[in-house]
Symmetry: C2
Subunit: 296 residues, 2 copies
């Protein structure tokens, strides 16, 4: 898949993801809850995780409906984590994806509930009635997602983040935090996509290594963008980490070394794909470049 082909493919896939989220995130959840959930997840975001699921599934000739459900489920978990992360008790952020954050628009309590309901909805989406998705695959996808979202994954990373403000984390501590906080869900996106088809052990390990590398690269680049980009480009408040005295790859390594690290990780991701022995990994290859080359 060349970059132009990728652009066409990803445009088609993203339309499918938007349509599926539009159908699955309920309009009719009571008392503004559905509205708050839809505000949080529709029409926004880069949809990197859904694309990773779908590209990984493509590389293993995976089940299309299962991969679409997995891609929406991962995005729901990601979107819920942003809603909770933006709350006053956490980052207290007012701008996200260029719009007022959910709690600014709907109130703190409703934002918390919307996040809670979005986490549950992710598992609803993965467990459709009937056999649209084979029950064993449903169980596997639920297991991968739950582990990436929970205490050993995303929520655990957030807890370290919370505890680390003002503390002198070294690169190892920082990596451990980000492997959980953002890396686990990015890697799970790849592995959930891979689960929609069949893989050999070495293909699976190659995809796992790819997922780990881009997961970390994503955060290194996030930290770089936080100091080099304006809020308007990012769609969220820039310079936030610096202001709140949080350790970042830039504060720990310096800007040049952080850029070098991002490039190392990009190369590691490509190497993992090459070693996986999978046929068509071009979508995943382009996504690795996207993760590093993005400006928001």
């Amino acid at each position: 898949m060349k970059r132009d082909d990728f652009d066409t493919w990803s445009m088609v896939e993203l339309d499918a993801v938007e349509a599926a989220l539009d159908a699955w995130v309920p309009r009719d959840a009571p008392a503004d809850l559905g509205e708050a959930m839809r505000y949080a997840v529709l029409d926004g975001g880069k949809r990197l995780r859904p694309l990773l699921v779908l590209a990984a599934s493509l590389s293993v000739h995976g089940h299309r409906d299962a991969a679409l459900r997995a891609s929406c489920a991962v995005e729901l978990i990601h979107a819920y984590s942003l809603v909770h992360d933006d709350l006053p008790c956490m980052d207290n952020d007012v701008l996200r994806r260029g719009k007022p954050t959910v709690h600014v628009r709907y109130g703190v309590a409703q934002a918390m509930l919307a996040g809670d309901a979005m986490q549950a909805l992710a598992f609803e989406v993965l467990t459709p009635p009937g056999d649209v998705v084979a029950p064993a695959l449903q169980a596997r996808l639920c297991g991968l997602l739950a582990r990436a979202a929970g205490g050993a994954g995303m929520a655990g990373g957030q807890a370290i983040d919370l505890a680390s403000v003002g503390l002198p984390l070294d690169e190892q501590g920082l990596s451990d935090m980000h492997r959980r906080k953002t890396g686990a869900l990015l890697q799970a996106s790849v592995l959930m996509g891979a689960s929609c088809g069949t893989t050999t052990t070495s293909q699976w390990l190659g995809l796992a290594a790819y997922g780990e590398a881009i997961g970390l690269a994503f955060q290194v680049v996030d930290d770089i963008l936080d100091v080099t980009q304006a809020s308007a480009t990012l769609g969220k408040t820039a310079g936030k980490d610096l202001d709140s005295n949080k350790p970042t790859y830039v504060s720990v390594l310096g800007l040049d070394e952080a850029r070098h690290r991002a490039d190392q990780l990009r190369r590691a991701a490509h190497a993992a794909l090459a070693s996986s022995g999978l046929g068509d990994v071009r979508g995943l290859a382009v996504l690795a470049d996207r993760v590093v080359d993005r400006d928001n």
Copy 2:
């Protein structure tokens, strides 16, 4: 099962639930997160939902390991909902199960994260690696739990609750709220237990009707206890709903009529069990009485 037999059975089962939760709620989740999760879920609560799962499973000769996992998963969802419900942005409660609430002990941000991680953990517990629980059953349990916890269930009920303060809800509006807020998870407990074995359609429908009746009865009794019991007996702040001008069955129906309604629902639950055609429903029958006769 006579009441004495039930007491023996439930004591053994509750020990198993405590041991399983102790094993499955991680000590080592980072930065106090595991500690906060354990504080929220261990050594406390009536464990009504786990007992419903296990009694329903017993009535259908269900798979023991699956039922134990389902019972812990339901309790994790229940416990997480209490943690979030107690937060300052929601009920702002400081006492729960006779102890300071999680946010009082660990801070608001950590309490929110602990709740988030507990929801994820519920789905981790339902999806063990390997075939301890048949994958199709894992998928079914995840689906039932997710739907009971999400926008159409518990979180949706909380949203109505939030929006209803000071509003003149009638009994129908109140029932709709509670069917979602507490009823959905209580009914799901019964149906998850039933899923661990095999049922005919009429058995399934009987258990669903039983679950619905006790779900509503539970809330009616909760509202009665809120005005008749002291905080020390309840283990949480009494009179809270009245103070916060929330509609309750007592405020809508009056105390006598609310008591009458609880008794009607108890009888409906017993009738549903009798009509189900299931062999041994005595555990479920005792639990229906417990729901109505409890004093905390």
